[in-house]
Amino acid sequence: MKVMYFAWLREKTAISSEEVDGAGLATVSDLVEALRAKGARHAAAFEDVSAVKVAVDQKVVGFDASLEGAAEVAFFPPMTGG
């Protein structure tokens, strides 16, 4: 599945998106743990998950949401549009 980063998360990971193998990852939390383990940059981006929001297939969900069938997961700070 495609994992995308926006705003300061994108700056911390230093990438805007990447392909991740979802095998064995049941929920968003599982994915976050797997991403944290990728390296220092990813760990820094997810250091404080209370500051991070997530959308699965363009719908905002909680960290306990299932990743079954997910094609796109995006991580971002609270929105500041308008």
Binding site: V60, P77, P78, M79, G81, G82
Partner: protein, 147 residues
């Protein structure tokens, strides 16, 4: 009912005039957000967004407004990219037969847009660039529309 996400500026008057002949509308309410200048020395503001989800989220917000109020027309235009103080950021418009629905729908569109539309603002200041924090007041404003 229309949604536009674009880099280009828009003309509030032109957009309002285009909506004026909508159906049986006797009331047209518009709101526009502008890049604040002067305080805090913000030199420029850049709006990042999530292409695909941005349009979908705005359309969903607009559909919600049309379900709650009897609107002849509604419009959301939101710019992205690097903007200077004094420039238009975005606008919402709501047209209805009478003013109550138009005023309430316009406020609803704004409150929901502030918390549910995937945009992120970065300000450039003399001290460096910083990401704008989401405001609790915006969450409070959005939650008052909960049914």
């Amino acid at each position: 009912m229309a949604v536009r996400v674009q880099e280009e500026d828009f003309d509030l008057g032109v957009e309002a005039a285009a909506l004026r002949g909508s159906g049986d509308a006797g009331a047209l309410v518009t709101f526009s957000g502008i890049v604040r200048g002067g305080e805090g020395d913000v030199a420029a503001m850049t709006l990042e967004h999530y292409p695909g989800m941005t349009e979908a989220a705005l359309e969903e917000i607009e559909a919600e407004a049309c379900a709650r109020w009897d609107l002849s027309a509604s419009l959301i235009i939101h710019r992205v990219g690097r903007l200077m103080p004094g420039e238009n950021i975005m606008m919402v418009a709501a047209a209805s037969r009478h003013r109550k629905a138009a005023f309430e729908a316009a406020e609803f569109l704004m409150d929901y847009l502030k918390t549910r539309a995937p945009f992120w603002k970065k300000e450039e200041t003399p001290e460096g660039a910083r990401w704008v924090d989401a405001r609790e007041a915006d969450d409070d404003a959005a939650s008052r529309w909960a049914k």
